[in-house]
């Protein structure tokens, strides 16, 4: 059975990646072509010409107005994926149509719905408003991961690994040594994991960006919306500085770390990451530092998870794992994703070849 959850919205790209050039990316095993209409609206359709399967994201395929022209034989498609012209004849075969995809741009991301299009209106798109909101400055990127998406979910749901894998960047001894609290909302399908450190070393990631000297209060509150959007609400402040009772928090530095975990295939993942902060908003030096530091941390995860994928791919199913308290949140996320995958699998169509028969 596929491990990819269908009938869900996934982040396919940053809005800045999609323009008036054809752009191809594989999402959940489906090759998808993205481009913008002349009015700026993003559109998505299958990235294979119906004629001889040439990738429409491959040059010399190109846009002409609100159509895309296949670079091999000139089959031309409108923004809904309908073929409107073929070479040498006036009749366009009725079946000459590309699958189109529901697309929504939100919070700087381009989201695409993978599954039964009719269900796209019933599935909510989780929000990450800080990425495109006044009062925050954001740095972001994407790293390809040669590992299944579930390994990145495991990684992010248990931040105790920061102490060991990311020491000297974001990891300090207190992260692994501080107990967590886990909550699951079964109806909203949200997993929330809190780790609040009252008196912790300040890792360079926060010391250099906030200017705090000395030990800190460090809160990590994970809000995961399975299967794909991960939010880490991070608060740091000098030791003893807590939010006011009315919820205001003038003494705290807030960083919203966002990951969009998008399966590329069963065994590879697009690892979108973003770091939004509510301090030093105009400071390019802080932006450069956070961008480089977070990318370094992400690449440390990439190396580790790529190695883990190679190991798991070579093992027979059923190797025994061992879970301890730090895994409480990750286990909850796995369970919800498994249920989503089972529900989505009931809707999986037959192969395209079978459908064509």
């Amino acid at each position: 059975m596929t491990s990819i959850v269908r009938n869900q919205w996934y982040v396919a790209a940053y809005g800045r990646e999609i323009g008036r050039e054809v752009f191809g990316r594989t999402i959940c095993g489906e090759s998808i072509l993205f481009w913008r209409r002349e009015d700026g609206t993003a559109t998505a359709m299958s990235d294979r010409c119906v004629h001889r399967r040439f990738p429409l994201s491959e040059k010399p395929s190109h846009l002409v107005g609100d159509t895309v022209v296949c670079g091999y034989h000139g089959f031309t498609y409108d923004a809904d994926g309908k073929c409107v012209a073929v070479p040498g004849q006036t009749r366009v075969p009725r079946t000459a149509r590309l699958k189109s995809y529901p697309v929504v741009e939100q919070d700087s991301f381009v989201w695409v719905f993978i599954g039964d299009d009719d269900r796209s209106d019933t599935v909510p798109i989780p929000r990450a408003p800080w990425l495109d909101q006044e009062g925050y400055t954001t740095v972001s990127g994407m790293e390809p991961l040669a590992a299944r998406a579930s390994l990145l979910v495991d990684n992010l749901m248990d931040l105790s690994h920061e102490t060991y894998l990311h020491g000297g960047y974001i990891g300090t001894p207190e992260v692994a040594n501080t107990p967590i609290t886990t909550e699951v909302d079964e109806d909203a399908q949200v997993v929330y994991v809190s780790r609040h450190m009252d008196d912790a070393d300040c890792p360079p990631f926060y010391a250099k960006s906030t200017g705090i000297e000395g030990r800190i209060v460090r809160w990590q509150d994970i809000e995961f919306h399975p299967p794909c959007l991960y939010l880490l609400h991070s608060r740091v402040a000098p030791v003893g500085v807590l939010p006011n009772e009315d919820g205001t928090d003038p003494g705290g530095f807030h960083v919203e770390v966002v990951y969009a975990i998008t399966p590329e295939t069963e065994h590879s993942t697009h690892d979108f990451w973003a770091v939004a902060r509510d301090f030093a908003l105009e400071d390019e030096g802080v932006s450069d530092f956070l961008r480089e530091s977070n990318r370094t941390v992400v690449l440390q995860d990439v190396v580790a998870l790529d190695a883990l994928e190679r190991v798991l791919a070579g093992e027979p199913d059923g190797y025994q794992e061992l879970s301890i308290n730090i895994d409480t949140g990750g286990l909850a996320a796995r369970r919800i994703i498994a249920a989503q995958a089972a529900a989505g699998a009931e809707q999986v169509p037959e192969s395209p070849a079978a459908l064509a028969r």
Binding site: P179, I180, T181, T182, E183, V184, D185, E186, D187, A188, V190, Y192, S194, R195, H196, M197, D198, V217, W219, D221, L242, R310, V311, G314, E315, P316, S323, I324, N325, D327, T328, L331, A332, R335
Partner: protein, 101 residues
């Protein structure tokens, strides 16, 4: 309420408080200063245990929560010798390949 419950000590001011507010929220708190977990079901049932898998099984059994949370290593009469890690493909092999002579 099932199982023996300890009094949960008052935590420091920064101890996480309840966040999610839905009708069906389950909660597992790692009790400070211990290796123990305190599970709370949305129905109000609470239980303590020492293993997250056992705790989730207990919570997900709602409304028929077992009387106790399964404990780690429960029933293990002896520690088994762990199996070897079997390598199926050459690229999985760790360390330099030993040349044949």
């Amino acid at each position: 309420m099932t199982g023996p419950l300890r009094t949960v000590p008052a935590g420091p001011t920064a101890t996480p408080t309840r966040v999610l507010e839905g009708d069906r929220v389950t909660r597992v708190a790692w009790l400070p200063g211990s290796d123990r977990l305190l599970g709370e079901c949305s129905c109000g049932a609470r239980a303590e245990g020492g293993d997250p898998i056992g705790m989730w099984q207990w919570l997900l059994a709602h409304p028929d929560h077992p009387t106790q949370v399964a404990e780690p290593d429960a029933g293990a009469a002896a520690v088994h010798v762990p199996p070897p890690h079997r390598v199926a493909r050459p690229e999985q092999a760790a360390g330099p390949r030993t040349p044949l002579r």
